[in-house]
Symmetry: C2
Subunit: 212 residues, 2 copies
DNA sequence: GTGCGATGTATCGGTCCGATACATCGCGGC
DNA sequence: GCCGCGATGTATCGGACCGATACATCGCAC
């Protein structure tokens, strides 16, 4: 998952570790906290070893004129390679069971703008199926095993069930929208005043600036 | 976290691994999928080594009369010890940062019936604080960085924000209820004579919207 | 000029997951 | 009778990811 996320972000711009972490937090803030360096750096190393990213060390203008007694550890900027882009395309289109858990789905969804429509639909439906199963499980417990559980546990299940139902509805909307060939339209989320209504959909194929 | 959950479940009744996993799934179904055996068995081993649980091997009536050519691997029933109960009491009352993340909060909440009111309040408020912070982060991104992100990413954030707002409201309700409610204190069931009877825990959110 | 918070790279131990293996049990179908 | 098959049941292994920690630089306020 981390691998996919990093490759996706580096596709937008070269970055160093710290930056990557922040961008990741901004992009995935809805589904998980900031990623740990204990995962980030080893993964970067692995990606580099696989040839999917390269190190583009900071252009310390007029570089080694400064002897640097303490071997200055400059920040390391990473950049995706052509192979890396291929790898990303492969990972983003390939779905497995892990694609539908909370984190996996979140990461895939965050890069939907770079995903073809058929895959988007497949992922949304897979996610919906999974959440529906969770929902059924919770209904079962609340129905059949209710008297075995205390009030707090029951309340937890109820809250979870509510979240499931809500997510299914959200997914239904997205799926319908996807089928009709449009990007997500903004449903009335109670809050939020004037959000720009013209969220011009990212046309299935992305139209981002290629290679800055 | 797993340790706490296992100790809590075994406090209700002795169980073997498989059963433990199912009960865990039923009790925590709202927050996480079934726990993996790759975590469960090593943890059971650790708990046993620490003296918090003991192995109460199946009461194979008239035991070793059967030679058992293939050394029959019976199921292993675990039972909490007095030290284990102490350990549980300590873990359930002690709060750290991990108490407020999704899993940690879920596990603590699931055992609220065995938690004193002051701790319950502390945990609920800590969780609320954490979710409020997440909410602010999402609002920031949606407000300040909106044009940097594509429509899908924004939609993800909106959905996350919605979930945060909803959870905060849920927590507010629980907190209000806690402050005005009476303390339940559930004694041990199963083991030893349960002296005090009928403690109907507080109705956490009895005023929910209708549910089938 | 000094402390201090943000930026920045890196490692280590530990928790938990997913895949896999293997054995027993009850039951329906042939 | 017996055969397969799904549920029950215990167990291990490699890998992903986290949290704590360490250490270094930079800009800026006091």
């Amino acid at each position: 998952m981390l691998e996919l996320a990093i490759l996706g972000l580096l596709q937008e711009a070269p970055m160093h570790g710290y930056e990557l972490r922040k961008e990741l937090a901004a992009k995935l803030g809805a589904i998980r906290a900031a990623i740990s360096y204990g995962s980030l750096y080893p993964t970067l190393r692995r990606l580099q070893a696989s040839g999917w990213i390269t190190e583009a060390a900071e252009a310390t203008t007029t570089a080694e004129e400064v002897p640097a007694l303490t071997s200055r550890r400059g920040r390391v900027v990473y950049k995706i390679t052509a192979e890396g882009k291929e790898r990303f395309a492969q990972l983003i289109a390939q779905t497995g069971p892990e694609t539908y858990d909370d984190t996996g789905f979140g990461v895939h969804f965050a890069f939907f703008a770079r995903t073809d429509q058929a895959t988007r639909l497949r992922i949304l439906e897979g996610r919906r199926r999974k959440i529906e199963e969770r929902r059924e499980g919770l209904r079962d417990v609340l129905g059949r095993a209710a008297e075995r559980l205390d009030a707090y546990t029951l309340e937890l299940q109820r809250h979870g069930l509510d979240a499931c139902e809500r997510e299914v509805r959200w997914l239904e909307e997205l799926i319908a929208n996807e089928r009709s060939g449009r990007a997500p339209t903004v449903p009335e989320t109670g809050t939020a005043g004037g959000r720009r209504e013209d969220n011009s959909p990212p046309p299935p194929g992305e139209s981002r600036t290629e290679r800055p």
